[in-house]
Symmetry: C2
Subunit: 428 residues, 2 copies
Amino acid sequence: MPDTLSDHAPIDEARLQAMMDELSVFGGGPDGAMTRLTLSKEDGAARDWLAGWFSAQGFTQAVDAIGNQFGSLILAGANAPVVMVGSHIDSQPNGGRFDGALGVVSACEAVLAVSQRLKAEGKSSLCNFQVVNWTNEEGARFQPSLLGSSVFAGAAELDWALDRVDGDGISVRQSLVEIGYAGTSKIAVPSALIELHIEGDKALFQSGEKFGVFTQFWGATKYRLAFLGRQAHTGATPMAERKDAVLAAAYLIADLKQISREHGLDLHTSVGRLEVFPNSPNTVPSEAVLFIELRSGSPEILAEAETKMLARIEVAAANASVAYEVRAIDRRKAGRFDAGLIALAERMAATHGETARSLDTIGGHDAVALSAVCPSIVMAVRSRDGVIHHPTEFTSAADQAFGTRVLADMLYEIACKGLQSFGNTDGA
Amino acid sequence: MPDTLSDHAPIDEARLQAMMDELSVFGGGPDGAMTRLTLSKEDGAARDWLAGWFSAQGFTQAVDAIGNQFGSLILAGANAPVVMVGSHIDSQPNGGRFDGALGVVSACEAVLAVSQRLKAEGKSSLCNFQVVNWTNEEGARFQPSLLGSSVFAGAAELDWALDRVDGDGISVRQSLVEIGYAGTSKIAVPSALIELHIEGDKALFQSGEKFGVFTQFWGATKYRLAFLGRQAHTGATPMAERKDAVLAAAYLIADLKQISREHGLDLHTSVGRLEVFPNSPNTVPSEAVLFIELRSGSPEILAEAETKMLARIEVAAANASVAYEVRAIDRRKAGRFDAGLIALAERMAATHGETARSLDTIGGHDAVALSAVCPSIVMAVRSRDGVIHHPTEFTSAADQAFGTRVLADMLYEIACKGLQSFGNTDGA
């Protein structure tokens, strides 16, 4: 039902839930599972559904060349500042329903609620709002992640991004055409970017708090590394003559775990994806491609970990008698979100009697990519048990609505007072 | 051109090569590559081609319920002993053209040559010949390997074998129907099984010899083992809370290599296939399925290696905070091929002025499965550089023809003198 507090935007929790339920149909499986890989048929259907919502609510639509999907509500004239709000609706394979999707749905509901409140109060807005659904935030099907927002922010070349291929050799370019989202619109960098997301860790859940603000983000160094051996029969070939690419991968994966131990809580390492060729039980693998991530809030630790890793790659290759090649490196610097927007989020949470816990974000968010070009922020609502990227990922309807209320109140404040009222929003 | 030695069967090298070239079209790629996975479209087309050859040459055809393909030449009446000759035409992914295929083509050519020689000499035969193409020798698409010959020999249940599924969940049963090779014939165990194959190691190539006889075969213990962790975000999830299935796999793969070192040349270990789920760069893997092989000529060493492995599985799982389950175990005992057939092969090679080098076979062969139920043998011709399961696998036309001549001479001897003339062919 509509929020009855007169000093808040009228968030309709039932409408928000209905939207989440409708969106969850696309790619949804049993027991909360969600497989809506970016630019898949399911993603295309979900985008069509979102386009239908934009259309029904009178939002102006646009799709850019990397498939980022926009819906604008023009409240302040064509030349007024634009505040962008949103997240992504692509998911991990067998992931959950809230990561990303909540950010898009809450943006829709919040923008709608603000416009309704302004209308009811007879007020005009100092800015326009633009809901965004970024292409390939997850990086599950195509690498790197944050692809749409990185192209938008100028950190990745459009043509290079369009040429990325998935594990079946299908390109981003081809996939966009197939689902009808190879757009042509040129969308300007907004005056601010605001994203609501589930936390992805359990700080809020464990402390019993509802709301958090990411103040800084970790840096990440991601390698796509191939060990190159030689196919041979696993029976006849003498062990000493084997050039086993998977053996080298095994040595390195164990070493990466050891490197993380040497830096305590300050370094995360992982190999989440491993491609083996030809991947036959009877053939010594000739190729193993590792998707390696190193993450840290400290640039020094991140650099040190990379140096250690490079040394261990040499050792692993030598010990398995294989060669190697680095096929891609993706680096993201650690940094801080916009102080003015953080203060605004904290103040709006306080009007609801809640604190805004300061959080680090270790996983990437599209707002991280945008923070290089405009004031940006990610706020968080709690996820049960801190689960993310798993079917049991869950945020209650009340918590979803709470986060959406704070978001709407922030947008209302900006609409009434202008962005410049919120301190030094410099996006540094 | 036809062999001109009057005391040998007239092997037509050009015809043999033409058959090899025709067969290599099905699944053949550039630079010698061959991908003719069992029961694939390519395998179906190759089987149809073989059926056409059987038909053109007047062979009686049959296909049994596991898809083994037979072509019989009845030279001695319906109740005479049957000598089976052949191998398999399925290949590894990105494998070579000679492994298996040469054994089927040489069987066709040898049987044809023997019948022509008998006819030319006005002699009758004491036995009938049956060329065989076994289903799924390779074990690349479906596990275990030697599936068709194992069902034929009674070592595997038919229904169980038909229910095996490939990595896409497609069953043997379904695949047989799709390519039209779900047969109904009941084929009796033959009086002997003779197989010609490429060596798969480089003993012959290095010694400059043309021909070898496998006298014994190694045992193998194969596990399909799953480590079971939990999906989580590779960014946010603290390292200490991760349950990383691939990390456990890495520990075990390194340990298996170490176990092989502890047994010198007497133990081969491998993990040729590794399936990772969900296999996304940003998600801690929840499942890693390892296809493990332990191989040894010594039953004691094989048992000791298995015991060591089981202990290391426990340690690997504990160190990565994951569970595990053994999903399949396949055991093959070491043993010896038939002494009478070995002596015959040696004697026939000698009539060509060549020795028959005694070899161990470490990789499986269908004759290993058959050796449990009838006198069986595998002979080998050399493969350049000992290469197998790789596109550069190569046996010269002259070497192919040489092996086929020895094979034909063995069949001729048996046709003229009867199997019982060749000592204690008991298949033990």
